[in-house]
């Protein structure tokens, strides 16, 4: 089922949580709403679910207007960050709930419900737990129950609000892979909210990056990572280094180095370089080699993070090398090196002159 969001606006008192959001989600897609806290991503999800009402705009499911439909009539599966399981019911009753509350005419028979719940319990690998209560389960198990409960009603769309936010790193990774498989198997349109860029990149077909109530960029994980449309997206996805300076005739002048910035407009601008897009050398090679002093070296598994201080402006730079590159370089702390950006993206400063 496709979802179309048209010009949605939401206020909390005088605070504007969403500003004229337009978004189209294709049937069967898995979309991530990614952004820092306060960006409006959860509000948008709750408006799609019908748990909150937008002040303005429309929500269409399969081109049918759902804007004023009550949440109970939207047939959405909603998964909460803190599971929201019914603690007075067994796991079995939790999953069966959505089927049991149906009006008599559409309610399946007891046998059908039992069969369906058993099937779902197998799917989430909790067959042996059907008579337990939620408090007797671990966080990961509870979230699996919550997913099974949402899937039991065969929802039009599956909405997940930071579903793995309260879980530890390992369980989180496991569950998001499992969610991806589940999504492919059920082929249900899914939207999930997260502030974890790695999670969004790993699972989603498309990523919607939000900030301060508006959409900054929409695209596949590769698109948004490799071609960020604006400084915010660049900054938000992965660690990035900023070079403030002036663009003149296709060159960015910053400190006493000059970097190639073909196609950039003249004027004040900022160069963005990702931490892994640097080359470290012992001798200056070009005009864009930045003389720096190694300040810190951290090894994080296969990656080595090196902090250097620019000698011209005294600004720190963060560089990531693979372990192999690092070992070949044989650099150590306090040493003088030359740093050269492999890839640079310049955004003209809107704030210049203010």
């Amino acid at each position: 089922m496709s979802i179309i969001i048209e010009n949605v606006t939401k206020y909390y008192g005088s605070y504007q949580a969403l500003r004229n959001i337009d978004l189209e989600i294709k049937s069967g897609e898995l979309v991530a709403l990614l952004g820092p806290s306060g960006s409006g991503k959860t509000s948008l999800l709750r408006i799609i679910a019908g748990l909150e009402q937008a002040e303005n705009g429309k929500i269409l499911f399969n081109e049918e207007n759902y804007t004023h439909k009550h949440v109970k009539d939207r047939n959405v599966g909603f998964v909460f960050q803190h599971y929201a399981l019914f603690r007075n019911m067994t796991i079995f009753d939790n999953i069966a709930y959505g089927l049991k509350v149906r009006p008599r005419k559409t309610r399946p028979s007891k046998e059908v419900i039992e069969e369906k719940v058993t099937e779902l319990l197998q799917l989430v690998k909790l067959e042996g737990y059907k008579d337990r209560y939620p408090s007797q389960l671990s966080g990961g198990q509870r979230q699996r129950v919550a997913l099974a409960r949402a899937l039991a009603v065969e929802p039009n769309v599956l909405l997940l609000d930071e579903p793995f936010g309260a879980l530890d790193a390992k369980v989180r990774k496991e569950l998001r892979r499992w969610l991806r498989r589940l999504h492919d198997e059920f082929n249900v349109t899914s939207v999930f909210v997260t502030h974890d860029q790695e999670e969004a990149m790993d699972v989603a077909d498309r990523v919607v990056i939000m900030n301060e109530g508006k959409i900054e960029q929409i695209g596949t994980p590769e698109e948004v990572y490799d071609h960020p449309e604006n400084p915010f997206v660049y900054d938000f996805l992965g660690s990035v280094n900023l070079f403030k300076g002036n663009v003149h005739k296709g060159k960015l002048v910053t400190g006493n180095v000059e970097m190639n910035a073909p196609g950039s407009e003249d004027g004040a601008g900022t160069g963005y370089v990702r931490a892994h897009n640097f080359i470290i050398e012992r001798e200056p090679a070009e005009k864009d080699s930045i003389a720096s002093i190694v300040d810190h070296i951290h090894t994080i598994g296969p990656i080595v993070r090196i902090e250097v201080i620019r000698q011209d402006t005294n600004e720190p730079l963060e560089i990531e090398l693979t372990k192999e590159q690092y070992l070949n370089l044989e650099i150590s702390k306090e040493e003088r090196v030359f740093v050269r950006p492999k890839e640079l993206k310049v955004f003209v400063d809107f704030m210049a002159g203010i």
Binding site: L51, V71, F80, A84, L85, R87, M89, V101, S135, A146
Partner: protein, 279 residues
């Protein structure tokens, strides 16, 4: 070395002092509750079984037991139902004067019971402000007693249920709605089960208070033997006639029955609480 041994001790219990607090609890309950209550039984024993049996099976006394327990049960039942309603309104909605209404709930606790009794009697008497609208007599009948008992027991259920309602996870209700349940189903299947332990406690407290209530009831009851004479009044009457043994005998029977009822409610509550506490 010291650090090591201290570490071992705190491992067992995060907050130390079980011995001290338990000892104090026992001492306190003994002085405040157990000794006075056992005096009732001690006094009763001095009268011999036959006298005791004759006193407590006297028809007038039996009628008073029946009246006392039935009116107390009815009043606390009414309080349980409307207490939940009031707690619901006070937690779920915002309206002008909410704080005032919230404060009003506690007033029956503060008011001297005799004042409450006289006020209620005036209002509910056949030509009183409220009494004139009833086609039957309210004051000087069991109905009047029930009204007085409802009045004095009102805060218990409200104050028990209110914090529980405030703390119910909003997500559970939203989950229920997203799964297609209507508001009634959400209330019955999700919210109400969460409230049961608090309602039971409130009911038990209100019931216990109503059983022992004397001040407000004697004014509105009319105190006609066999009809509107409550057990605490019988006890008072016997005391006034210097029949101490008789008074304690009636009191002892009330104590035992009350204890059985409260104990049953406690068990019920423990059972409902246990089901989803995960222990």
């Amino acid at each position: 070395m010291n650090i090591v041994t201290e570490g071992k001790q705190t491992k067992k219990r995060t907050i130390p002092g079980f011995g001290l607090t338990m000892g104090f609890t026992l001492l306190y309950l003994t002085i405040i509750v157990m000794i006075p209550l056992s005096m009732v039984f001690l006094n009763t024993f001095s009268m011999g079984f036959q006298d005791f049996w004759a006193t407590i099976t006297e028809p007038r006394v039996l009628a008073s037991y029946k009246l006392s327990f039935l009116t107390a049960l009815t009043a606390s039942f009414v309080n349980a139902v409307f207490g939940v309603l009031i707690a619901w309104v006070l937690t779920r909605y915002e309206f002008p004067g909410k704080r005032i209404i919230d404060g009003l709930v506690d007033l029956p606790f503060a008011l001297p019971t005799a004042v409450a009794g006289i006020t209620l009697t005036t209002l509910y008497s056949p030509n009183g402000w409220i009494g004139q609208f009833f086609s039957f007599k309210v004051a000087f009948t069991p109905a009047g007693i029930i009204i007085a008992l409802i009045f004095i027991g009102l805060p218990f259920v409200v104050r028990m249920v209110q914090p529980v309602l405030e703390n119910i996870e909003k997500g559970m209700e939203e989950a229920s709605a997203s799964l297609g349940a209507n508001r009634m189903q959400t209330f019955i299947k999700i919210i109400f089960p969460e409230l049961i332990p608090a309602i039971l406690t409130g009911f038990a407290l209100s019931f216990a208070r109503a059983l022992g209530e004397y001040g407000s009831v004697v004014f509105i009851a009319g105190n006609m033997p066999f009809k509107t004479e409550i057990s605490p009044l019988i006890i008072m009457t016997k005391l006034e006639q210097y029949d101490y043994e008789g008074a304690t005998a009636v009191a002892a029977v009330m104590l035992i029955i009350t204890f059985i009822i409260l104990f049953t409610i406690n068990i019920l509550q423990w059972w409902t609480g246990k089901r989803y506490s995960g222990k």
